[in-house]
C-alpha cells in the first residue's frame, strides 16, 4: 500500500475560532480502496475537519492534497468536482421532490429547450437504487420515505459521479441492521473500485467490521492512527478519551431527600421509549449519551414541550400531566435549555429583564411593571450566583458565556423550582467558568434542588453527578452510581453495548 499515492491527504490543518483551537495541526490521509475511520468524542473536531475539507471553513494553516495536487476548497460543489463526496448525517434533501430529482439535484440531465430528460434520469436513478437494493423507486417522493430510506437517498448521491473519496458521517445512525448490511456492501463495492472512504462513526462494532485503519482526534488534536486488525476497542477508547482529562468523580454526597420526580415507562413516538428513572431532592442525575440519543427530548417532554405517547410522570409521588411550559413552571420544573443564546435568553434585552422574564406578569404595580421589585430580584441572584456584570442595564448579549448561563440559571431559581433540568450547561463556555458552573450545580443540589444534568462531555457528567444514566438510541442502557462508573463502561454503554454480566 505504501507504493500508492493517497487519494486524499490533509496536512497540518489548523483552524481556530475565537477562544478555541478547534483543529490543532491535524494530518490525515486516505488511500484509494481503503476505509479509514475517523473517531473522537463529541466536540473532538471531526465535524470541523470535514467542514474544512468541504470548503465550508477555510483552514488557518495547512493544506488539502487530492491525488498529490494541492487544492483550495471553496465550496461543497468544488469538493464534488474534485471527486470528494459527502454523505451528511443531517439530511439535505428537498422533501417535495422525487428520489431521482434529489439524487441528481443541480445536475438534472437535459434535453433541448432545457427540458428534463426524465427517461435518462429515471433509468440512471433506478440503476443506482438497484445497487443499493432499496424498496422504493426513482419516482417516489422523498417526503414519503422513512428517515432510514432518506438516508439511503443521501448515500445514493455518492454513486452518481466517479468519486475519488467519499466521506460518510455517521451513515448508520438511522439505519436498520438489514440496511446496514446493504450499506457495507456498497462501501465494499466502492472500495474495490479504488475509492478512498472516510468513515465517521461512534459505533465500535461497525468500525472493526469494515475499516482498515482508525485515526483518532481528541480536543482538536490528532492522537494517532491504528491499523484496525492489530488493535482492539480498549486501545481505541483509550486514545479517544485520553488520560489528561480530569475524570475525577463526584465524591461529595449529600443527604438525599424524598423522590421529587419519577418517570415510569415514558415514551414519545420514535424519539425515546421505555424511559424510567427517578430523581431525589439533593441529587444530581447526569444523562450521558451521543447526540440524538433522546436526552434533550426527555427534558423537553418533562418541560411540557412535547406530548408523551405513553408512560407516567410523578411529581412528589403524584401522577401529573404537563401540558405546557407554563404548566411545568407552575409545578416547579425549570429547564435551562441546550441552546443558551437561541432558547434561553433574549440577547437584546438587559440582564434584569431576562432574569424576570417568566414572572414579569406578576411583578406589577398597578398597571405598570414594578421596576423596583425586578431590580431586587436581579440583585439577589447576582449576589447569590456571583454574576459579574457592570449592572442590570447591561445587555445580556455582551456578557461572557459563563455569566449568560448564570443569568439563565438565576432566572429559573427565582421561580423557586423543585426540579432543575440543565441541558449542556457548559457548552461554549471557557474552562475556568466551567468549573464554576459545576460547583454551582453541586451547591444547588446541596440546597435541596433535584437536578438533572444532560451533557455530552464525559468529564462533566462524571464530575457533577451522583448517578449517571447512559442512553443509546432513545433507551436507557444502564444507570451507574458515581462509584461504579468508569470511562470504559460508560463509553460502552452509550455505544449500545450491553454488558453480558453486569458487575
Amino acid at each position: 500500500m505504501s507504493s500508492q499515492t493517497p487519494a486524499l491527504r490533509l496536512e497540518g490543518i489548523v483552524k481556530t475560532f475565537p477562544g478555541v483551537r478547534a483543529l490543532d495541526n491535524v494530518s490525515f490521509d486516505v488511500m484509494p480502496g481503503e476505509v479509514h475511520a475517523l473517531m473522537g468524542e463529541n466536540g473532538a473536531g471531526k465535524s470541523t475537519l470535514m467542514k474544512v475539507l468541504g470548503g465550508i471553513y477555510q483552514p488557518d494553516e495547512g493544506r488539502i492534497v487530492v491525488n498529490e495536487q494541492p487544492v483550495v476548497m471553496t465550496s461543497p460543489l468544488q469538493a464534488k468536482s474534485k471527486g470528494i463526496m459527502f454523505i451528511h448525517q443531517e439530511l439535505s434533501l428537498a422533501e417535495e421532490l422525487s428520489v431521482a430529482e434529489n439524487i441528481y439535484l443541480g445536475e438534472l440531465p437535459k434535453k433541448s429547450f432545457g427540458r428534463v430528460d426524465w427517461q435518462k434520469l429515471y433509468s440512471e436513478t433506478n440503476e443506482i437504487l438497484g445497487r443499493l437494493k432499496v424498496g422504493f423507486d426513482a419516482k417516489t417522493k422523498v417526503g414519503d420515505l422513512s428517515i432510514a430510506n432518506q438516508q439511503m437517498v443521501e448515500i445514493a448521491r455518492a454513486l452518481t459521479v466517479e468519486a475519488k473519496a467519499v466521506i460518510f458521517d455517521e451513515p448508520t445512525a438511522s439505519l436498520t441492521d438489514a440496511e446496514k448490511v446493504v450499506l457495507f456492501d456498497v462501501i465494499g463495492d466502492l472500495k474495490t473500485h479504488g475509492v478512498g472512504i472516510i468513515y465517521i462513526s461512534h459505533r465500535m462494532e461497525e468500525i472493526f467490521r469494515i475499516t482498515d485503519r482508525i485515526s483518532v482526534l481528541r480536543d482538536g488534536q490528532y492522537r494517532g492512527t491504528l491499523e484496525t486488525p492489530e488493535t482492539d476497542e480498549e486501545e481505541v477508547t483509550q486514545l479517544m478519551i485520553g488520560r489528561k482529562l480530569d475524570l475525577s468523580r463526584n465524591v461529595s454526597h449529600h443527604e438525599l431527600g424524598d423522590v421529587a420526580l419519577e418517570v415510569r415507562g415514558l415514551e414519545c413516538g420514535k424519539l425515546f421509549h421505555n424511559v424510567s428513572f427517578s430523581v431525589c431532592r439533593g441529587e444530581v442525575v447526569g444523562f450521558y449519551g451521543l447526540v440524538g440519543a433522546g436526552r434533550t427530548e426527555i427534558a423537553e417532554t418533562l418541560f411540557g414541550l412535547r406530548d408523551p405517547t405513553a408512560g407516567q410522570i410523578l411529581l412528589d409521588g403524584q401522577e401529573t400531566t404537563i401540558h405546557s411550559p407554563a404548566d411545568a413552571i407552575e409545578k416547579g420544573i425549570s429547564l435551562v435549555p441546550e441552546d443558551r443564546k437561541g432558547q434561553g435568553l433574549v440577547l437584546g434585552m438587559n440582564c434584569r429583564d431576562n432574569m424576570t422574564l417568566p414572572q414579569v406578569n406578576d411583578l406589577k404595580a398597578g398597571p405598570f411593571v414594578a421596576e423596583g421589585a425586578e431590580i431586587a430580584i436581579f440583585d439577589q441572584y447576582r449576589d447569590r450566583l456571583d454574576i459579574r456584570t457592570p449592572g442590570w442595564k447591561q445587555l445580556v448579549g455582551n456578557l461572557s458565556g459563563g455569566n449568560q448561563q448564570k443569568i439563565v440559571i438565576g432566572k429559573w431559581l427565582s421561580m423557586h423550582p423543585n426540579i432543575l433540568i440543565v441541558d449542556e450547561p457548559t457548552r461554549g463556555i471557557d474552562v475556568g467558568s466551567k468549573s464554576e458552573i459545576h460547583n454551582l450545580i453541586r451547591e444547588l443540589a446541596s440546597q435541596g434542588y433535584a437536578v438533572i444534568v444532560i451533557s455530552s462531555e464525559m468529564p462533566e457528567v462524571l464530575h457533577v453527578s451522583d448517578r449517571i444514566i447512559a442512553m443509546f438510541n432513545g433507551e436507557i442502557i444502564r444507570t451507574f452510581t458515581s462509584d461504579e462508573v468508569t470511562e470504559d463502561n460508560l463509553i460502552q454503554a452509550i455505544s449500545g453495548i450491553i454488558p453480558e454480566k453486569v458487575a
Binding site: L77, L93, E95, E96, E101, L105, G106, V116
Partner: protein, 333 residues
C-alpha cells in the same frame, strides 16, 4: 388506505372540489335569490367569468413560480399599471405616427419590455443584496407606483385603438382573447414548472435552499429569471386588459398583488415555498372569481364579497395546517 393519502388527495383536488361546491351552491341559491332570471351556469356567464379572471389569473400563474421559490412579489400591481401606461401612451408618440396599426406590435413590445425590466430590477436587488424579496418588492411596489404618478399625475392615460379593441373583444372558438391568453400562459408555465430543469430547480430551492446551493444550483440568477417572468406576465396582463379598455388610471392595479397572492395560496402553494401547482393556482383564480360573481348574482354587495373571501381564505389555511401537522411527537412551540 395509507396514512397521508387522504390529506394528499384533499390538498391536490381540494380547489376543484371547492369550485364544484360553489357552482352548485350558486346555481341552486340563484334560483331563489337572484333578481335576474338567467341561470348562473349560463354559457355566456361562464365565458365572461373566464375573461374576467384573466388579468389576475395571468399574474397569479407567475406568482406561483415566485412563491414556489420561497419568494413573494408585491410590486406586480404597480408593474401592471406602469406597463399599461407605456402601452397606451406609446401609441400616441409622434415617432410612430406614420405606422398606422403597425404601432400595435411596437406598443405591445415596449409594454412587455417594461415589465421584464422592472422584474429584472427586483430580481437583481434580491440576488445581489440578499435582502428578503418581501422587503425589496414592498419598496419597488411604492417606487413603481411613484413612477406611474410621475408619468401623468392624477390624470388617466387614454388611447383607444379600434383595431386593438376588436382584437381584444374577439372570440375564437367561443373563448375571448383574454381567456386564450390565460390558458396559453397556464400551459406554458405548467410546462416550465413540470418539464424543465429550471422549473424543477425552482421547487428544490424553495424546499431546501441549503441543499440546492450545495448541489451547485445558482440560486441568485435563478431567482432573477423568475422575477423577470413575473414582470413579463404582469405586463402581459396589462396588455391584454388595456387593449380593450383603452384608459388607465394611476390607481389601477392597486391591491392586485393581494388578490394574486390570495388566489395562489387558495390554490395550495406553500407560503414557505417548495410546493405548489400552476393548475391549482388557476383553480384558485377561478374560485375567487366565481365567488365574486356568484355572490353578486344572489344580490350581495362588494363588501360582503370581500368579507366572505377573507373568511374562506383563513378557513382554507387553517385546514391546510391541520392536514400538515406532524403528529403527536412534534415539539410544541
Amino acid at each position: 388506505m395509507e396514512p397521508g393519502t387522504l390529506s394528499t388527495f384533499l390538498k391536490r383536488g381540494a380547489i376543484w372540489g371547492f369550485i364544484v361546491v360553489e357552482l352548485l351552491f350558486f346555481s341552486i341559491a340563484g334560483e331563489y335569490l337572484s333578481l335576474s332570471n338567467k341561470a348562473f351556469m349560463d354559457l355566456d356567464n361562464m365565458l365572461l367569468l373566464f375573461k374576467q379572471s384573466a388579468p389576475i389569473g395571468i399574474i397569479a400563474i407567475g406568482m406561483t413560480i415566485i412563491m414556489v421559490n420561497g419568494n413573494i412579489d408585491l410590486s406586480v400591481g404597480a408593474t401592471f399599471a406602469l406597463s399599461a401606461i407605456v402601452l397606451l401612451n406609446s401609441m400616441t408618440w409622434p415617432v410612430f405616427a406614420g405606422l398606422g396599426d403597425g404601432v400595435i406590435p411596437i406598443a405591445w413590445a415596449l409594454a412587455l419590455v417594461t415589465g421584464i425590466l422592472l422584474g429584472a430590477l427586483n430580481g437583481l436587488i434580491v440576488w445581489k443584496t440578499g435582502v428578503d424579496a418581501f422587503i425589496v418588492t414592498l419598496g419597488s411596489m411604492l417606487g413603481y407606483r411613484g413612477l406611474v404618478f410621475m408619468y401623468n399625475g392624477e390624470q388617466p392615460t387614454s388611447h383607444l385603438n379600434w383595431t386593438l379593441v376588436d382584437f381584444a373583444e374577439a372570440q375564437f372558438m367561443g373563448l375571448h382573447t383574454a381567456t386564450w391568453f390565460l390558458l396559453v400562459v397556464t400551459a406554458v408555465i405548467w410546462f416550465v414548472m413540470n418539464r424543465t430543469v429550471h422549473g424543477r430547480n425552482a421547487y428544490a430551492i424553495g424546499d431546501n435552499r441549503t441543499a440546492a446551493i450545495n448541489a451547485g444550483i445558482r440560486v441568485g440568477p435563478h431567482m432573477m429569471i423568475n422575477f423577470m417572468i413575473i414582470g413579463f406576465l404582469a405586463s402581459l396582463s396589462a396588455v391584454v386588459f388595456y387593449s380593450e379598455s383603452g384608459s388607465v388610471n394611476p390607481n389601477d392595479g392597486e391591491l392586485y398583488e393581494l388578490w394574486v397572492i390570495t388566489a395562489v395560496v387558495l390554490g395550495g402553494t406553500k407560503l414557505t415555498g417548495g410546493a405548489g401547482s400552476v393548475l391549482s393556482t388557476l383553480g384558485g383564480v377561478l374560485a375567487i372569481q366565481l365567488l365574486r360573481k356568484g355572490l353578486g348574482h344572489i344580490g350581495a354587495d362588494t363588501e360582503t364579497v370581500n368579507l366572505v373571501i377573507g373568511l374562506i381564505l383563513i378557513a382554507v389555511l387553517f385546514l391546510d395546517r391541520q392536514l400538515n401537522l406532524k403528529g403527536r411527537e412534534a415539539l410544541r412551540i
